[in-house]
Symmetry: C2
Subunit: 331 residues, 2 copies
Amino acid sequence: MKKIVNNPEYVVRDMLEGLIAAHPDALKQIPETTVVARKDAPLQNKVGIVSGGGSGHEPAHAGYIGDGMLDAAVCGEMFTSPTPDQVFEGIKAADGGAGVFLVIKNYTGDVMNFDMAAELAEAEGIEVEKVIVNDDVAVEDSSFTTGRRGIAGTIFVHKIAGAKAAAGGSLQEVKNIAEKVTANVRSMGMALTPCTVPAAGKPSFVLEDDEMEIGIGIHGEPGIERKRVTSADEIAEELTNKVLEDIEFNRGDDVALIVNGMGATPEMELYILNKKINEILLDRGLNIHKTFVGNYMTSLEMSGCSVTLLKLDEEMKPLLDAESSAPAFRI
Amino acid sequence: MKKIVNNPEYVVRDMLEGLIAAHPDALKQIPETTVVARKDAPLQNKVGIVSGGGSGHEPAHAGYIGDGMLDAAVCGEMFTSPTPDQVFEGIKAADGGAGVFLVIKNYTGDVMNFDMAAELAEAEGIEVEKVIVNDDVAVEDSSFTTGRRGIAGTIFVHKIAGAKAAAGGSLQEVKNIAEKVTANVRSMGMALTPCTVPAAGKPSFVLEDDEMEIGIGIHGEPGIERKRVTSADEIAEELTNKVLEDIEFNRGDDVALIVNGMGATPEMELYILNKKINEILLDRGLNIHKTFVGNYMTSLEMSGCSVTLLKLDEEMKPLLDAESSAPAFRI
């Protein structure tokens, strides 16, 4: 294992210190927790938006903290759900009296622990609502999931729910729009190489020198097929078509697109993919409202990509376009 | 070689198409060239800022095109200087009548080809000035360089010279501030793994499973030492101390910092490095004005990092802090 780390047991702790040091005016760590919050949290009378999950997916989720996006992110250990008490700390950090909204990726541990935290918060009089994001069309059920997994589409939920809250939306209004985004966002990924959790010291799976895996999860969970590496155009077609088949897209629909890198994919390759994805979407008569290319939801040093499409309507569009100060998601 | 590409000979062409498709409102490609320019270029009566070089260092340089930064980027083939006629096209694209300023990384081919392009432009009545960035303290002379190499410090030159031009600075004023940045910026890098140019099909060098190379260049040029991989803290110390030794930093000095990933380095590891770098700088009594952590000047899928420090003064600070719309460098 070749990594730039100190004690592998403390990578999350060390990362959080380095993160706060880099953004001292924007972020704070809640003492004795792994919760990162905006420096000025909680914002009075604004719905607080909280997300989180296992670490190793950076910039998800702490990079999405800022005006018009998240108020707090709860950082679990590597690929491990944060505990209910940590999530509860995140809820408290974001609570400005208008309720707190939780954006949860659909993994069994996350769902359970965020739910328990919500109960703890409600017992203390904090109103909590949630959405469970399950955008990954690759597989139904998986190693850590009942139903579909939540992956890069989660970023669109952060952005649009966060913009709604920033615009003064009520907890119920934030929930409604978050559910609408979740209903209209789909993703699918693939990997060329595995990744290694520092404390484990060896890759979570093995791919041969000429092999890729289609439909892989962001923790290296099995996908739908292992096969020989094909061209960028073929990969773009396979992922995009699977996403397009899953919900109804009609000619003239506005869509937002994320071409996401898994961590070790050169930006060049993501743009090469985008060339073909763009052609496919235009051929289908879709209007590409906005394209985001980069590392948004990663798996450490995994090489690979995912494609996310959100079908927009007139309510979602201005919320997606609204300004955000989150370092990892600029409009 | 595992890569998401089509024909390896056409990776730059394909990338540029995907890049323009992702940013249709901000960027344009000059027809029949590998020049990317801001959509509204040339801006009348503003000094045009042009940079470029071999491709494979994305987001450098096309990601730095935008308000307050570059007007055009000239994209060479993989790790290959753009030709004089391509650079000349870039100069013409950026020329709004107030002259064009070239930011050149110090590689023999780049310096020669940008110089020839400047002569072509001057023959057509376009006033051209330049700066050559040589921030890499690792080695004097190298595979492709006489003198020191230009690496991630170049981004600070883009930003500050770009802000000066956006503020109405004359060609001479832009040159003066760019020279000041170059005189005050220093960098040093290291690698854990090599990278593979698609058309070559195999890595440009080999590192053993437990080896890293200190002082490596962004094309895999040899550094100053190969040794066993040490801890993040030791790597941070080695790079930062070498940078700090190279020019005089005094207690109370303001500095700006880039903790740069080489392409395949998880963001987590960059933040772990930043924790220690931050401690070292504070111990030295320096005031960290701003920290940038991420992939700014990469080498395809090389794993590794570089540390860049810029000693700021009261003239440079507001120019660094000025807003920019470049997708890869937000303040």
